[in-house]
């Protein structure tokens, strides 16, 4: 086994294992912390794929932003002694339909991924930050500006929605 394969399998086990904990854990706060490890695992896979800028963005935005926001959501919508999810599916029979949908999806997607003859033009790994900056301010300027407007709209919208109205 080469070093690359060893690192890939290590990150793959961390990612999928903690994603399973996110989905199956009965305690909301455990799900949130397992999600942290999933994001770290995906960032490691990005590094392995030669996407250094995207890996750093993943850590900054997902771990630093989205996960902290989700933890605030957990804490603001639960009384502290009430973190156990009593309301979730109980008997194994309840898991039959969702479980078979998920397993079926996984089998179909993996079958398609393995059986298809993919185009193969490998990109030699190189630092990507300068190239991404050049593309964003050149060829992809319009989507870049649209993304910044989207972020502004989401910022104002989120503040408007949670605002306590005096007249209501």
């Amino acid at each position: 086994m080469t070093a690359e394969a060893a690192v890939f399998w290590a990150f793959a086990i961390v990612t999928v294992g903690s994603a399973a904990v996110v989905v199956l854990s009965r305690t909301l706060i455990y799900s949130a912390f397992a999600l942290l490890f999933t994001f770290f695992g995906v960032a490691g896979l990005y590094v392995l794929l030669g996407a250094d800028f995207l890996a750093a963005t993943q850590l900054l935005v997902y771990v630093g932003g989205i996960l902290v926001l989700l933890l605030f959501g957990v804490m603001l919508t639960h009384r502290i002694y009430d973190l156990d999810l009593h309301s979730e599916l109980g008997t194994p029979w309840d898991w039959l339909a969702p479980g078979s949908v998920a397993v079926g999806l996984f089998v179909i997607l993996s079958f398609a991924a393995v059986k298809t003859q993919w185009m193969s033009v490998p990109r030699t790994p190189a630092p990507t930050t300068a190239e991404i900056g050049r593309l964003f301010l050149g060829q992809f300027l319009l989507p870049f500006e649209a993304a910044s407007v989207l972020l502004l709209v989401a910022l104002i919208g989120a503040a408007m929605i949670v605002r306590r109205r005096r007249d209501a």
């Binding site: 399973a20 949130a32 996407a51 935005v61 959501g73 999806l105 993996s110 990109r123 989401a154 929605i161």
Partner: protein
């Protein structure tokens, strides 16, 4: 030898776990976590194609946009969840039936 297929199968596993979470969870914050899993699966696919199949940076740029949209989505969605909790004292999605006539 690790190739494109390994990453695609890994992303398929992440995606299926996200779908399983969407179908089984009632808590709104947990559903948001499942959506993040699905977005991450899509991103792994994009970056893997950028590395092995297309030979250019398009997939990585698209991945940056996916992260931007995920950040905007989770901010607005949590605002809605907090407002719902303030109105109904519950984070469960199936009790959010205020719009029903």
């Amino acid at each position: 030898m690790i190739g494109l297929q390994h990453y695609l199968v890994l992303a398929a596993a992440l995606f299926s776990l996200g779908i399983l979470g969407l179908l089984t969870r009632r808590n709104a914050v947990n559903v948001l976590m499942s959506i993040e899993l699905i977005l991450n699966a899509a991103n792994v696919n994009l970056v893997a194609f950028s590395r092995y199949a297309t030979g250019n940076m398009g997939g990585q740029l698209f991945g940056v946009f996916v992260i931007v949209v995920a950040a905007a989505e989770v901010a607005v969605a949590l605002a809605i969840v907090l407002t719902l909790y303030r109105l109904r004292r519950t984070p469960n999605l199936d009790e959010a039936n205020i719009l029903k006539g």
